[in-house]
Symmetry: D2
Subunit: 342 residues, 4 copies
């Protein structure tokens, strides 16, 4: 940590801050520049320290040197993690493709989708049973009935089931049916929920919040890891910016950047990331070229009739075409496509 003093900071203030640094169990090292004094605080303390020092008298800024996350960090585990959940293999050179409707709507809808996305090469099925909706007047999902339909689709196809969980007291129920518990972007900093999914034996798909920094995303993952659940997949799904021609802005540089900071697999959701069916395939290919470990894509047999998100949902044929293109891009960047079922 570097404590930068104000230009006119007094000797008394500097000495006060040195005491303060030492009282936190750190070593203080004073450097007097031509215009300012800075104090290097040496030692391995990440949190609290900074907040505390920033409030000191005469302090202009406190610059952290260490990353605030630990278990997620490449410094702790220098090799990329690969997760295997039924047919879904994701990370360390293999692409996991998760596809399916925004909401589970009916047995026919989910079975038809499951078969089609599997044929096209996907290895996991997504589908919302508990739906977080911006408006209380919107369709809220089929709830447990939806979970049962997902499980039925898995029974038939073998696809891993990925579905969202919205509250700590729903974790147990969802975990009964799902292979991967999805934490939606709006819940990325719902800490009680993160703690709850950290305690169950299911992989967790953690979506980046639309205004979350990378440090905040990794610290959210850290909440899960810290409870003992090491199976976390990170998902970039777009951030909120001034752009309005897309629903969110999809910053693909997140992918290679995260790969330099964490061993966790990083996938991309081009459906929410664009909010526009016409842009999904292009951004899926771009995500793979950028090095993503997988994709999460909304697919529905009849997007126009979908109960949610139809405007960003591919139909079965569009998804199949996209997958054919992806195979070529994946090969061009030496990624393995997910293995087909025998």
């Amino acid at each position: 940590m570097i404590v930068v003093m104000e230009p006119g900071a007094s000797e008394q203030q500097i000495s006060h801050m040195v005491d303060r640094v030492e009282s936190l169990g750190l070593r203080a090292h004073v450097i007097r520049g031509t215009e300012r004094t800075v104090i290097a605080a040496i030692g391995d303390k990440r949190e609290y320290t900074r907040e505390s020092l920033r409030s000191g008298p005469g302090v202009a800024d406190v610059v952290p040197i260490l990353a605030p996350y630990k278990v997620a960090s490449l410094e702790v585990k220098p090799h990329p993690t690969q997760l295997r959940i039924r047919d879904l293999v994701v990370g360390n050179g293999t692409l996991g493709v998760i596809a399916g409707p925004c909401s589970v709507e009916s047995e026919e809808q989910i079975l038809q989708t499951a078969r089609a996305v599997q044929d096209a090469g996907a290895t996991a099925l997504r589908g919302g049973a508990f739906k977080p909706r911006t408006s209380p007047y919107s369709f809220q999902g089929l709830k447990e009935e939806g979970l049962k339909l997902l499980a039925a689709a898995r029974a038939e196809t073998g696809l891993a089931v990925v579905t969202e969980v919205m509250a700590p007291d729903e974790v147990e129920l969802v975990a009964e049916y799902a292979d991967v518990l999805q934490i939606g972007a709006r819940n990325m900093q719902n800490y009680r929920l993160l703690e709850a999914v950290g305690k169950v034996d299911r992989a967790v798909l953690l979506k980046r919040g639309p205004s979350a920094t990378i440090d905040e995303l990794l610290l959210a993952a850290e909440y899960v890891l810290n409870e003992g659940n090491a199976n976390v997949i990170l998902c970039e799904r777009g951030i909120r910016t001034f752009e309005t021609h897309t629903r969110f802005t999809l910053p693909l540089a997140t992918v290679p950047y995260l790969h330099r900071k964490t061993h966790l697999p990083v996938i991309v959701d081009p459906s929410h990331g664009t909010g526009d069916r016409a842009l999904v395939a292009s951004m899926a290919k771009a995500a793979v070229a950028a090095g993503a470990d997988g994709l999460m894509v909304e697919v529905h047999p009849d997007p126009e009739a979908a109960m949610s998100d139809g405007y960003q949902t591919l139909n079965l044929e569009e998804f199949s075409t996209m997958m054919e293109q992806l195979v070529r891009v994946a090969a061009a960047v030496d990624k393995k496509m997910p293995p087909r079922l025998p």
Copy 2:
């Protein structure tokens, strides 16, 4: 709703969309312009409709005409709501001032703060017992012990107690001690939590998420109102933008804008809104001049020793000075300051 067709949309596509509009229970009105056709969909349906129509063939855009929220709307209740919770009076011309530490840390800390902010003119005490922290390694609050200390401070001073609740299954406990349940910015779209606080007999302070639009904020309020709890206070606390010289960017135009859309009281949090103790008083005055119905301010007897947020926290004297200045600004814009206890 206005359905805007693509420039080259075919007659078949137009006719398809007319059918679709009518199948949703709306009247379709086709307008043929010189370059494009638009279809006006007439009737009072707010949600789902738009998503559904946007997925149609040949559709370029769907422009909503009606606001998506109802109960929060000025159209439904044209006069400003005023809430009275013990000494805290907020809305319709009276300023409510909520002050106190980020976290409850000890009996002495909270009692000393409560007495001082009351002397300075505040009518409610804030203090976190359950703390949502970005890092799992940070101080997480005193939990129920903190709630008890807040209740003790209320017993002595009569100040209303405002404190955060983080999960649906903690609502009952927090409601036992608190007068106002605070929903933090990170939980603004935690819908299970919104539903839970909508079911208890406590006022709710709903903070705007850092990337939430105004519609999303009002729809989050709608989740609470829709459960039957009409006592909602909205709080602007800053949004995330490219600016780094403040922790968040505090957009005060939110205040007069919300007053044109909703009857709910709107307060401002200049502490989180700036993240910088040196800017808090200026922005508090600006918020009142902009028409805010109240303020929420972080105050601590010794900010440098605070266990969280010290850098944006006023000490007791700074708060008292700020309140003296606020009295003058409030008078200049014809707002009543909160009445003192006898």
Copy 3:
């Protein structure tokens, strides 16, 4: 400057960076932490140094300690600057109010506006003769004819004339007629233009670009100051964020923040800052309460008929009412309103 090395940086990399720091004329001071090494580079070099060091092998980041601007800095001139340009007095406790139409349209329009804003208490007249328009098909201004009309309005009222200049080779012409040369937000980093207005004997009103950081704004001012023109007024007019309910987001914390960094006067433009006539007066009052040294407001006798920006323009009566309210807010924060002409 603090050079932060990567966790695994080698001794060779560290020693390379020490040499590099010294070759730039700085002293290098190596601090070995428990997990990382940092090198403090001591001495007064602001630019180039950072870019150069960031490219070094094993370097994770370079943290600047000194502000990159000099002449604009409070460190160089610790007392607030007050400018006096005819009746316009701005800075160090006195409010300058600049009002007038977006575009000069006719003699009658500009004269009527000038008389009315003067009666209401404004001390400078704004009006665009050269108009930067987003579309080439929009009205581009009356050009020199507009400048002549502004000069005629000044001859009658004595108001200082503020008008925009768009290109280096138009500076001379505009300076013949104007008292204050306005640099529009889109030209904040048009360096040739900044150099050109730095060379003439006219005050400069520099508007913040919608995505400019505070450092970038002050460095743009520095381009003008560096040419010898010390009469620079900074203007906050809103930044581009994800918010769409206002044209821009007006971050008033800019005002007190700038006052802690620079001696230059800081005014606010609530017309562009909101893009909504209904919000202008509230934000004007908020700006003054936040400590602004002045305001720039769009006023037109008939906003609906204005050739540009009518939706954010006050009519004469609205402006007069706003000024009456401002007098009270200004008094509440101990600011002097501009002195009236005798």
Copy 4:
């Protein structure tokens, strides 16, 4: 254009707006919904109209239906434009790769770079002679001397020369030496400069401003096209968002989105778009996979010694490796790499 009236708009206000629409030469079509009235304004007028109508009494909003740009639009020219400038072929299926240093620094530097990037497959050379720098104290470029060195490199290699022009009165000079005139991001709305480059017989490379919307970018292009210069290349180089781990946020969805709106070629600058050498190659590949028509990449023989932008600049070997990877990605999305010189 759709004029949306306020919920309580009076018959008089509606009738006033109908008159106003007709006085603008448009047909008015009134639609009375259950809660609001809207007026469709039919006819082909794009600008001014909207601003004018938004100021009307009782008007809540005015929604444009037509795009504000014309010549750049796919509606006007439905087939993608391909430009050929010496070896640089860009658009309609062929990738143009522009590479070179941020600044021209010396004869040796520019010649060595030119030869190396040509060997690696680039078909144009970039290099700044006139440098727009955030600080007046930074290196401002070699000016005409730099242009001469670029021309010398072209004489030797045949590469097309791309270089920035900063002011209208420098256009003639730069056009003497350059094949493509670059308009930097900070000058995207410098309208006098756009007009000036619209009048010369040189292709124009127009970089998106960091807070420009897509409409604003296309309208800036329209300024050039409107002067008669049809050879415009658009360049996405990142927008300013809350993200700080990259210098800008690179929104690659711009590429397929623009291809649905305009026939102009669209290239991507992953150097400025990330500001981080370690991310450049990944984002270059992603850009091509997203459908970009070309790339602009910063390359320098010794980035650490570069006078500007070294931290985002590839060395010669890194560039060569990136080009080998690009060839594979380009093939996977059926793009032709630029043809080599014989």
